[in-house]
Symmetry: C2
DNA sequence: CACAATTACTACGACAGGTAAAGTACTTTT
DNA sequence: AAAAGTACTTTACCTGTCGTAGTAATTGTG
């Protein structure tokens, strides 16, 4: 794997590429979205992101777990241990009311951000 | 001015807010877009961003000038001095062919990114 | 005429978020 | 028995943003 500077860093080697710097501001939101559907844990969320984005976005493990810590520190999610008696013990997360409020804010912000960025984008295809 | 952590840092105090972490991946693209229309310099670009975004996004000076340096180091823009004989000498920038190519890539990427993020966003208004 | 405001940068240092690399630990498949 | 998959944790580094501050010239206001 070639070493690429971070601005140009690419998720997925193929033709569908997304630079991680863009999603940056929305990693927390993406995680919260998946927790809306119910409690979950790291590995599952990771797979859900991959599936929902049709492999176009794969969140790195370290990014995911550091996001969990940040979200918990901010009171947006709560963690608890699962009671599985086999395998490695999972840490489950659930969204809190303030996490939901934050998610809603981010959704509104997204509409605005989209509009602003669109003004600086040209469409070359067709 | 209250000290706010960077994730929640806000551009514009009012109801229209955009966190800088989101635009992050597109600052370079925004600058290149404005250079498509012709040569320009820092202060002018800064004002154009403000106007085009209807005050919804104001790029910080330090962010702008560090973006210029990065873009020039990557060969996406070229700088030269203006010949004004009054005032402080301006550094003008023009976009290069490889800058144009990069801009086009970013535009395509944006369509993809928008689609991906949209999948994790709910619409609460209406 | 003094002063503030505006224009046009530059330098420095701090900080947050993303990520590579590596390790731990247990289970299932080959 | 080895590889692959599940489920994390720790460390250390890099990049981009941004607060603060300084320089330098011009224009507007009292």
């Amino acid at each position: 794997m070639e070493r690429v500077p971070s601005t140009l860093s690419i998720v997925q080697g193929g033709t569908d590429l997304i630079s991680s710097d863009v999603i940056r501001g929305y990693n927390d939101t993406i995680i919260l979205y998946l927790l809306l559907e119910g409690e979950s844990y790291g590995y599952e969320i990771s797979k859900n992101i991959k599936e929902l984005s049709e492999e176009k976005y794969i969140m790195k493990e370290t990014t995911l777990y550091s996001a969990f810590n940040r979200l918990e520190a901010n009171g947006f999610i709560e963690s608890f241990y699962g009671d599985e008696t086999f395998g490695k013990r999972r840490t489950y997360y659930r969204i809190t009311p303030s996490g939901l409020a934050y998610y809603k804010e981010k959704c509104e912000e997204w509409q605005l951000t989209k509009d602003v960025i669109n003004r600086f984008i040209k469409e070359w295809s067709i």
